[in-house]
Structure formats: structure tokens, C-alpha cells
């Protein structure tokens, strides 16, 4: 009877919360817009690997010989295929420097005066790449891409020279110049995709945010406007109140999670490799692991403002430390260690394994156990605290 009452009461409290929520058009709009913004923002803003496209680059050709002109022709031919660069010509280094300072270009390529003569004399021709130190990220990428391009041009020239000098086939010449070649093969079909990487993390994060912001808000708000007294004066278990609220916030979080899932698949070409039911289970488990924290914040904060502040303080480090946006492996070791104390880390890892790599339950067993552990531990502290806070 007791359990049945708790379930019935929490259902009605959840019903009330969702009804209230659904009556606000703005909130409904935000329910959809928030995940959309999140995906678009994260997907397009964060650096997506080491490619560049239509980057303005200044090209200086001080060489008067044939080799300089040949290099420029080859560079332009490659660029016509890849559209990496937006080439513009410049007079000399100082001209490139001016253009960099005026942000007209992001880098420069300089072919020196003695380029042809050096090559004819049997030396290497030196090509200078000018980089912008104020933007390290961009500089590294441009430097990498240009170096690679110039090396490819060099190899092609070498292969051609070798083939014509010794009368051997292009294929033989290629194997002589570049004996090794690399081939990448993933364990699932398709190219790696940054959305593929962030989508599971964002789902975990949005579910966390729904609970961490929604729960303290829902309870502190009712405390402040006085409606909580109505529930507290009714003959219902204190647990029903928190359970009803958790249920409502879970539904909200799950809806947002699914919107992200659909957006990721429909708009951003993410392929879900794993079992969708396992994905749902993991999302629910994520909810479970955060419920305690939400209740805990609600219990020891007096009003909504404090609750929001505490929640924000906890949420931001979790968002950035849990490998949602950046791989954990890129962080310094102490940050990696810290990340292992955050449930979101495990939620993200598990979801990523299942969604991207198609792992089954046994592959995420550790994460599942840890998330259950977090949930049980936090609830064991939070529920008694909540009961105490409600009967001051």
C-alpha cells in the first residue's frame, strides 16, 4: 500500500509538472531549440581536424627560372582540386607581413630568387612558409597542410624526373621515391565525423543539465511561491514529491536527448551503430546517477538563486572535464584523474562506445557499474538530507 501510494502520488506530481511545462510555449520551443543550438554550435565551432578550406594565402614568386613557375603551376593544380587556399600574389616578405598584419591573409608561401639556380646546381630548393604567430591553432594547421602539399609536389617532381632519366615506369619510380604508403581502416564503416564524437556526449550532458537545473529549480521555486506547503501538508510521503519531480525532469531530459539523437542522425549524418534500447538504458542510467546530486543541491540550498549558483559551479567543470567536447586523452594527467571522479565521464564514454562503435552491454559493463555506484552513493546521502530539509 505504501509503495503504491508513493507511485501514485509521484505520478500525479509528475503529471502536474509536465502539464505546467507544456502550457508554456516558450519553454516548449526551448526544449527543441536548445539541443539544436547545442549540436550546431558544437559541431561547427570546434576545430574539425587538420584541414583548411579557402584560407587566404599570399604567394611570392621571386624566382625568374622555370622551376619556380613549374612549382606555382603544380600548386595551383592541386588547389583547384582541393580548394584549400585562396591564393593571392605578393611582392616579397614585407608585403606578406603587411597583409598578415592587416588580416588580409592567414599565411604566405615564398619562392626565393635563387630557387631555380639552386636546383640546377644540384641543391634543394628552399620554400619559405610564413605563419601568423598570433593564431597558433591556425598556424599549425596551415604549416602542416602547406608542408605536406609542398612535399607532395616535390615527390611528384622527383618521380617524374626519375622516370624520365632512367626510363623506368612511373609506378617503379613511385615505389623508389616513397616506398611506404599508409591506409586507414576504422572498425566501423565510414569516415570519422566530429558529430559522431560529440553527439553521445551532448546527449549525456543535456540529460544531466535537465536534472541538475530542473530539479533544484522545480523544488526551490515551489518552496518560494509557497505551493510546496500544499504538498507537505498533504498525507503523502516526502519521497513522492522528489520522485514526481525527478520523473518529470527525466521525461524532459529524455525528450531533449531524443531530439539530439534525431537531429544527429537526420541533419548531421551520425550513424547509430549500437542497440537503440541499450542507448535508452544508458540515458536512463545517466539520469539515475545524477538524481542524487540534484536532490542534494535542492536539500541544502535555501532558495532558487543559491541553487542555481551551486548548480552552475558544479556543472561547468563537469561539462568540460568529462570528455564531451575534447577527448580525455588530450588533457593533462591530473585533469584526466579528476575526470574519473565525474559520473558524466562514464556516461559519455559508455554512450560513445555503444552509439559510435556498436559495443554491446558487456563492453560497457564497467561504466554501467560505476554509474550505478554513483547513483546509489549520492542517493544514500541525498534522500535523508532531503527528508530532513523538508521537516525543519
Amino acid at each position: 500500500m505504501g509503495v503504491r501510494n508513493v507511485i501514485s502520488h509521484s505520478f500525479w506530481i509528475c503529471w502536474k509538472d509536465l502539464l505546467e511545462f507544456s502550457r508554456s510555449k516558450l519553454r516548449l520551443a526551448m526544449l527543441v531549440l536548445m539541443p539544436l543550438f547545442m549540436m550546431v554550435m558544437v559541431g561547427f565551432i570546434f576545430p574539425t581536424g587538420n584541414s583548411i578550406s579557402n584560407t587566404p594565402i599570399a604567394l611570392v614568386n621571386s624566382d625568374t627560372g622555370a622551376m619556380g613557375a613549374a612549382f606555382v603551376t603544380q600548386l595551383k593544380a592541386i588547389n583547384n582540386n582541393t580548394h584549400m587556399m585562396n591564393l593571392s600574389s605578393a611582392k616579397d616578405f614585407n608585403d606578406v607581413k603587411n597583409k598578415l598584419q592587416n588580416s588580409e591573409v592567414s599565411g604566405g608561401i615564398i619562392i626565393p630568387e635563387n630557387f631555380s639556380s639552386e636546383i640546377h646546381a644540384g641543391h634543394q630548393g628552399v620554400i619559405t612558409i610564413v605563419i601568423d604567430q598570433s593564431n597558433p591553432q591556425m598556424s599549425y594547421t596551415i604549416q602542416g597542410v602547406l608542408t605536406k602539399t609542398i612535399e607532395v609536389i616535390g615527390e611528384q617532381t622527383a618521380i617524374f624526373n626519375l622516370s624520365s632519366t632512367y626510363h623506368i615506369s612511373i609506378a617503379t619510380a613511385t615505389s623508389l621515391v616513397t616506398p611506404y604508403t599508409v591506409q586507414s581502416k576504422g572498425i566501423i564503416p565510414g569516415e570519422p565525423n566530429y558529430f559522431q564524437f560529440v553527439a553521445p556526449g551532448i546527449i549525456a550532458m543535456v540529460v544531466m543539465m535537465a536534472l541538475m537545473t530542473g530539479l533544484p529549480h522545480a523544488i526551490s521555486y515551489e518552496k518560494e511561491i509557497g505551493t510546496l506547503d500544499g504538498m507537505l501538508a498533504a498525507p503523502i510521503n516526502r519521497l513522492s514529491i522528489i520522485l514526481g519531480k525527478v520523473l518529470a525532469q527525466t521525461v524532459r531530459g529524455m525528450i531533449q536527448g531524443f531530439i539530439i539523437l534525431i537531429l544527429a542522425v537526420v541533419l548531421f549524418g551520425v550513424v547509430i551503430e549500437g542497440n537503440i534500447l541499450l542507448v535508452v538504458f544508458l540515458i536512463l542510467l545517466t539520469v539515475f546517477s545524477f538524481v542524487g546530486l540534484g536532490i542534494l543541491i535542492t536539500s541544502f540550498t535555501e532558495n532558487e538563486e543559491t541553487a542555481t549558483m551551486v548548480m552552475m559551479t558544479l556543472m561547468f567543470p563537469m561539462m568540460f572535464l568529462s570528455g564531451v567536447f575534447f577527448p580525455l586523452q588530450q588533457m593533462p594527467w591530473y585533469m584526466q584523474d579528476l575526470a574519473h571522479f565525474l559520473p558524466l565521464t562514464y556516461a559519455t564514454t559508455a554512450l560513445r562506445k555503444v552509439m559510435v562503435l556498436g559495443a554491446d552491454i558487456s563492453a560497457v559493463g564497467t561504466e554501467v557499474l560505476i554509474l550505478v555506484g554513483f547513483g546509489v552513493f549520492l542517493l544514500a546521502i541525498a534522500v535523508p538530507m532531503f527528508r530532513r530539509a523538508m521537516s525543519k
Binding site: 502539464l19 505546467e20 505551493t227 500544499g230 501538508a233 525543519k392
Partner: protein, 374 residues
């Protein structure tokens, strides 16, 4: 028993005198802990930090009565209500509501009470019916009973037409009507009304008072009402407890409370003069029997006096100054006077003028003092 009281006054009641008849030994589970009173407080205390909000309060409320708790803001009325509704845990003492202990048998207490607190317990985005349904469900009412009950309650406050409109579209008066019937979904034996007319316009105030009376007479619900409006307590309550600084300073029927000061030779006269001049006021003021003179408007004076010959001396003095006295009225003491007499301060001192004056109710025969002389 009650501190700070002049000894010559007859002050009635404390909880111990309610203990006549059979005395029940409280059982562990859900056994009523006391005799037949609806509510019984025994040395109840609540301390917030160092501040005693409720300081050793004992009284009882009889079944079926409307009991008034009267006092200024911050006197401890709401804290008492919150303790009786199991929302706040007492620091000391005990209280029984509907026969159940508010701490040990809180669940049982909750089944038998309805609460209308200072803040409205309603969800603005839900309709009136949805609000009632939610609370009905929290009291485990089955659907058929609940629907019938909701219709009855809505017709009680003539709000059937508005049942499916959101609360946010209602006026304050309509909201409060729904708020009151919301507290009645579970047909409580005891209804707590904490400042139910606060901030309402005169018409709504009257409606809520009428509703309170009807709930009490038609359904036999015991009502405990807190207010700082003397008139309200006077009009509705069979017995009134005056509370100040967390203590009950007097408790009796309204008429008995008024007798407290009628014997003290203090009287207040309302005098209407057609040619009121400043020198008349100062001459009245100089009389030894006159304690204070207040000019209400260009023709009316309120004179507070001590002693039996005050009336004669005032009239003599006014005549000497050539005053044309149109009317002299010996005013009945009001609860306000009782309160002033017992606590030395006005009940409404912290309440905004708007709240009380916009209610349009005169809280006694006398009007507000508008201009104080000296």
C-alpha cells in the same frame, strides 16, 4: 500563567483546563493522544536561532468553532499554524490536531486538515479543475468521488463557469476562492486559514468571510483563523486568542475581551463640533482627565479619557470656549482597544495602510486617526 498581564484582569484558559474528563494514554500507532478538542497546544515553543517566535503557548480549540488568532505581523501566528500543519517542527512542547500528535503522528494529522496559507497554494498555469484534481489525488480520492467533490466545491464558490480556465487568468479574489476550496477537497475536520483576506478587495474580503462562515456552519468544520484585522476576528470568531511576541496575552470570546478594558475607567468620546477651533482643542487637552486628543477632520474630535468625571469636564471646557457641540458619543471599546491595552501597541503598525483601508472595512466603530495633535 500569561506574563505581562495586569493582575486585575480576568484572563481565561490555558491548555491544562481542557483536561477535564477522561484522559487518554497515547498509544504508539495512530491512537488519538488527547480528549475531544479539535486542537490542543501544550507549552508549544519554536525558536529560530536565538529568537523565540512562539514562546510557551498553550490553548485549545473546541470542535466546530471558529477560533481566531489575532496579532501583529511577526507575532508568531503563522509559526503556530505551520507547526499545527506539520510544516514546522516544534522546538519544545507538544500539540495535537484532530487528536493526533503533530510530530509523532504527522501523517494522521495531515489527513484531517486543510491549509490556506498566506501564499496561495495553486499552480497558475493549471486550470481550477486541474488544481483541485491534483490535490484530490494526493489525498487518494477515487475518480468518481473526486469529480463529484470538485463540482460541489466549485458551486460552493459559484465558480463552475471558470472551472476549466487557468488560474493565471483569474482576479485575486477568484484565486482566493479556488484556494480556499482547494483546502477542502479532502473534507478536512479542521481548516487552517492563515490571513485569508490579505490583499483582497472589499467585495472579495466579504465573500471569503461569508465562505468561512458557511464552511463552519454547513459542514461543521472547525476553523482556526489568523488575522491582524480586528474587525474580521470580531465578526467571525467565537473565541479569540491575542498573541504578541510569541505569547498568548489574552484568550476569550470577543465580548469578554472587550470587558477587559471597560472596567478600567478608560473611555473614548467622539465629539462633533460645528465651530471647532484650535484653542478648544488645547483647553480640552489641558484637562487632567484627558489622556489624548485626536482631530479626525474639521469637525470631529476623538478624546481618550480616564476617570468618571471626564465627560462633564470636557463639555464644561468646550462650552466655556463657545463651542457648538452637535454630538458626543461614548464609543464602545473595540478589540483594537483591547489589543492596545494589552500590548501597548497597535496591531496594524507594520501593515501597509493600503491593505487595511482598501479592504473598506472599518475595524471598529472608530475610523483611522488622520492627524495627531501634539
Amino acid at each position: 500563567m500569561f506574563s505581562g498581564l495586569p493582575g486585575e484582569h480576568r484572563i481565561v484558559t490555558c491548555s491544562s483546563c481542557g483536561m477535564q474528563g477522561k484522559v487518554n494514554i497515547p498509544g504508539i500507532f495512530a491512537q488519538p493522544v488527547s480528549n475531544g478538542h479539535a486542537i490542543e497546544l501544550s507549552h508549544l515553543r519554536k525558536v529560530f536561532g536565538d529568537f523565540p517566535a512562539v514562546d510557551d503557548v498553550s490553548f485549545f480549540v473546541k470542535k466546530g468553532e471558529i477560533f481566531g488568532l489575532l496579532g501583529p505581523n511577526g507575532a508568531g501566528k503563522s509559526t503556530i499554524i505551520r507547526m499545527l500543519c506539520t510544516l514546522t517542527r516544534p522546538t519544545g512542547g507538544s500539540a495535537a490536531v484532530a487528536g493526533y500528535d503533530v510530530v509523532k503522528q504527522a501523517g494522521k494529522v495531515r489527513q484531517h486538515i486543510g491549509l490556506v496559507s498566506e501564499k496561495m497554494i495553486m499552480y497558475d498555469q493549471l486550470t481550477a479543475r486541474e488544481n483541485l484534481k491534483l490535490f484530490g489525488k494526493l489525498y487518494n480520492l477515487p475518480n468518481d468521488v473526486l469529480h463529484k467533490r470538485i463540482d460541489e466545491l466549485l458551486s460552493l464558490v459559484r465558480m463552475e463557469k471558470w472551472a476549466d480556465h487557468r488560474i493565471s487568468t483569474f482576479s485575486t479574489g477568484m484565486k482566493q476562492r479556488i484556494n480556499v476550496i482547494r483546502a477542502l477537497v479532502n473534507q478536512p475536520e479542521i481548516l487552517f486559514l492563515d490571513e485569508p483576506t490579505l490583499g483582497l478587495d472589499p467585495q472579495s474580503t466579504a465573500e471569503i468571510r461569508e465562505l468561512t462562515r458557511r464552511i463552519n456552519t454547513e459542514q461543521g468544520t472547525t476553523i482556526i483563523l489568523t488575522t491582524h484585522i480586528m474587525f474580521e476576528a470580531d465578526a467571525l470568531c467565537s473565541r479569540i486568542g491575542i498573541i504578541d511576541h510569541g505569547k498568548i496575552v489574552a484568550l476569550d470570546t470577543s465580548s469578554n475581551l472587550k470587558k477587559l478594558i471597560s472596567g478600567t475607567e478608560t473611555s473614548t468620546f467622539e465629539i462633533e463640533l460645528l465651530n471647532l477651533k484650535p484653542d478648544m482643542i488645547s483647553s480640552v487637552q489641558s484637562l487632567s482627565s484627558v489622556k489624548s486628543v485626536v482631530q479626525e477632520d474639521p469637525t470631529h474630535l476623538f478624546v481618550r479619557t480616564v476617570g468618571n468625571d471626564a465627560f462633564d469636564s470636557i463639555v464644561d471646557s468646550l462650552r466655556k470656549n463657545g463651542a457648538k457641540v452637535r454630538m458626543v458619543k461614548n464609543l464602545e471599546p473595540t478589540l483594537e482597544d483591547v489589543f492596545l491595552h494589552l500590548t501597548g501597541r497597535e496591531a496594524r503598525e507594520k501593515v501597509s495602510e493600503n491593505t487595511t483601508s482598501s479592504s473598506g472595512q472599518r475595524h471598529g466603530p472608530r475610523r483611522r486617526r488622520t492627524q495627531r495633535i501634539r
